[in-house]
Amino acid sequence: MEGIPLLHILILSTALFFIGIYGFFTRRNLITMLISIELILNSVNINFVAFNKYLYPQQLEGIFFNIFIIAIAAAEVSLAIAIIINLYRKFNTIDIEDTNTMKH
């Protein structure tokens, strides 16, 4: 990766991040919003690894943060899908416009 400047990797991850932001704001379905959050988390992970490799190669901090973010994303997805399935049982839809009461 010597021929590729750090800036290009950062531009890639910025584009990925804002694609995720756009999807999060426009989608109305809970599962697709969850997918957008996955894109955002992945763009942050690319940044961590790139900064670790290019700027501070003597320590492995970016890699540890990457591993922790992946673990937290897995926990978050499992909880969110449990909540989504529960919501679907109560409302028969997972559109955010229709599922607007917390207590049933």
């Binding site: 750090l6 800036l7 890639l12 694609i19 989608r27 109305r28 690894v49 492995l60 890699i63 673990a71």
Partner: protein, 175 residues
């Protein structure tokens, strides 16, 4: 252009294309499959950055775990093949303005910042042995405390998702 540069720009173009398709596709199942390809492309980028362990974790956890979980939940909550309703224009315009403005602002800041790459002469050496030794070290900037906290968090998420998704007793008797 060397082969490495061609590979990098091709893979990043593919990642961005699939991410865009995830966002605009109106069939939710296809959207999940595009997410899978986008995550695989990111794993390929990790391979190019010499972090094979992270690439393997990315493939195992994201592609093998999270995407499969999302596809299962799509099957549980949607009719297969049905299209999602069209997006409203009053939602698209503010989101487009906001994300484009944020993107341009960030690119502008990045372009004017001078990163001191190559100032550290030490070699980047992320072998599994180094990662394991540093992750479970409790002195010298070790990461054993966050490691333990993450293990508790995963246990709590496991129990929590079972408790949330379980069917209440009365409802079970009714059905």
């Amino acid at each position: 252009m060397t082969l490495e540069q061609i590979l990098f720009y091709t893979i990043s173009g593919l990642v961005l294309f699939f991410a865009f398709m995830v966002i605009v596709c109106r069939r939710i199942f296809r959207s999940a499959i595009y997410l899978l390809f986008s995550l695989l492309g990111i794993a390929a980028l990790y391979f190019m950055m010499d972090v094979e362990f992270i690439a393997a974790i990315q493939i195992i956890v994201y592609v093998g775990g999270i995407v499969v979980l999302i596809i299962f939940s799509i099957f549980l909550t949607h009719q297969v093949g049905e299209k999602m309703p069209k997006k409203l224009i009053k939602r698209i315009v503010p989101a487009l303005i906001l994300s484009l403005a944020g993107f341009l602002l960030t690119i502008d800041m990045l372009a004017h910042h001078n990163f001191n790459t190559g100032i550290n002469p030490e070699k980047f050496n992320p072998t599994v042995e180094n990662i394991g030794h540093q992750l479970l070290d409790y002195k010298n900037y070790g990461y054993v405390l966050p490691f333990e906290i993450i293990s508790f968090l995963l246990l709590a998420a496991l129990i929590g998702s079972i408790v949330i998704a379980i069917r209440p007793k009365q409802q079970q008797a009714k059905n």
